[in-house]
């Protein structure tokens, strides 16, 4: 029997349709139907200036909105052959890591909500608010920050900002240890998460899983290792696990948070003096740039014509993650409740996922996912 879930459903936060094929209580396989939040962002950006493009790129996704603007700015910088000044690069690292902390907390809290574990859900959301406070203090906004521009960042920060941020990080660390222990050592949570929704390394590569989902299955790959700022100035460890189940993915996200806190501390300690923004002479050209967003790697391909954007193509991590979730994770899952929890464990972000529309010869517009078009 096929059990449809969504687009509006108590278990889902975003509009998407999950079709679960069940045999009794057991879920045999799953299918995901996209197409509820297609807005046509890429088409709108075409023919606009970068000032308008960066504003729109921030609204691709509301959770990891920061990383999109940084990638957009760095792609244009690559076309023009410049790099942001070191102080701006450090400020970008601080904001990026704070954004990663809040996104990982939110992803885990959604997973605990899907497991019906209200206590951990509340603990995790409480800790997230400290990260949101720090972001608001630094940039002035909670979600869509408007912080990056081509050639640097908009505003400078000083001791007045850094001191409260360090205090907030300390509060996060205090609560974090206990929260992580409740999840990692709890016997009931272990029964619900260990060995459920297993995806092997081979399957993760075939499904092109990225980010914490790929790293939870044993792909030791973090794009921050190749980024020039992180490579030159920072010291961090790539977190990865072998198991590939819901437990591994959630714990992987938990373990990345102390690394991000340490990166923010390093950036605040060693921040150099100097400009925060340099003037950029816009050129025509074509470039591709990748960055590690909280959910995996984001790729921007931009072709410019003087100061106008001729073509833009955005690849977000959510589509490969959700596709590999439907294909490999939700397969012979013991119950429907576990299938929904498995879907939540891949940290889905539907708003990222939909930008492609395909028109066939009869003029009928249909909305397709990335995999089908490729």
């Amino acid at each position: 029997m096929i059990l449809p879930i969504g687009p509006i459903h108590p278990a889902l936060k975003e509009p998407i349709r999950l079709k679960l094929q069940t045999e009794g209580e057991k879920v045999v396989k799953a299918e995901i139907e996209y197409g509820y939040v297609h807005r046509g962002i890429e088409k709108i950006i075409e023919g606009q200036t970068w000032q308008r493009g960066i504003y729109l790129s921030e609204r691709v996704c509301g959770i990891c909105s920061y990383e999109h603007t940084q990638t957009f700015a760095e792609t244009i910088e690559k076309i023009c052959g410049v790099q942001a000044p070191p102080r701006a690069q450090f400020l970008r690292v601080i904001t990026n890591e704070l954004d990663r902390i809040q996104s990982h907390f939110l992803g885990n809290s959604t997973f605990f909500k899907a497991l019906d574990h209200e206590t951990l859900f509340m603990h995790v959301l409480e800790l997230r608010e400290y990260a949101m406070d720090s972001i608001e203090l630094l940039t002035g906004n909670r979600v869509n920050m408007g912080w990056n521009v081509v050639g640097g960042v908009k505003m400078d920060a000083d001791e007045r900002h850094f001191k409260p941020i360090l205090e907030n990080l300390k509060k996060i660390e205090e609560g974090f240890e206990r929260t992580r222990e409740i999840f990692a050592e709890g016997p009931a949570l272990g029964l619900r998460t260990k060995g459920v929704g297993v995806m092997t390394k081979k399957e993760a590569i075939r499904g092109r899983a990225v980010g914490p989902i790929g790293r939870g299955s044993g792909i030791k790959y973090d794009y921050r290792e190749d980024h020039y700022t992180y490579k030159d100035y920072f010291d961090f460890k790539t977190i990865w696990r072998k198991e590939g189940d819901n437990y591994a993915r959630t714990l992987n996200r938990f373990d990345e948070i102390p690394e991000s806190i340490s990166l923010v501390r390093q950036a605040i300690e060693n921040i150099p003096e100097g400009d925060i923004r340099i003037p950029v002479e816009l050129k025509s050209g074509y470039a591709q740039w990748r960055n590690e967003a909280p959910r995996g790697e984001v790729t921007y391909t931009i072709e410019t014509n003087g100061n106008l954007i001729k073509h833009i193509s955005i690849r977000t991590p959510s589509i490969p993650n959700m596709d590999s979730c439907a294909k490999y994770m939700i397969r012979d899952v013991p119950s429907v409740a576990d299938a929904v929890a498995t879907y939540a464990s891949c940290d889905p972000c539907v708003a990222c996922a939909e930008r492609v529309a395909v028109t066939d010869e009869h003029g009928k517009t249909s909305l397709k996912n990335f995999g089908e078009v490729m």
């Binding site: 936060k13 939040v37 609204r59 996704c61 509301g62 959604t110 409480e126 997230r128 909670r142």
Partner: protein
Amino acid sequence: MLYSIKYIVRKSSIHVCIVNCGGCNGCDVECVALLSPRYDLEQYGIYVHNNPREADVLLLTGAVTEQWRENLKRVYDKAPEPKIVVAIGNCPQSGDVFNQEGGHVYAPASDFVPVDAAVPGCPPRPSEILEAILAVGPQAIADRGREKR
């Protein structure tokens, strides 16, 4: 008799359903932040359930996309009377940045369903969303209950 008791009870316990009809997710995230212990939505008797069949308040977020043109009315019809619709963010009011050439949105949402209150902002703060629900929710539900009787 049964209905009058029902309206009195529903006045102080509001069930909320978030309907994301094609936004960037930012407003939804702020609605989830409302559940956190800092804002503690449930102390005001508000419960986020995400089930339109039990909802008193529908929170609309996002510019209306192609798929939602018909479905939005269907979701609205499923909610029992009396019901309130609160539009969160700029998108359901004007379409925000998506409402320009090349975009596939059909904002405003008031073309499809009656909207009772609107909170502008991209996205609005959680406290503003909470204020809007409390300002319009209990009184309007009580009033409409009286009209029906």
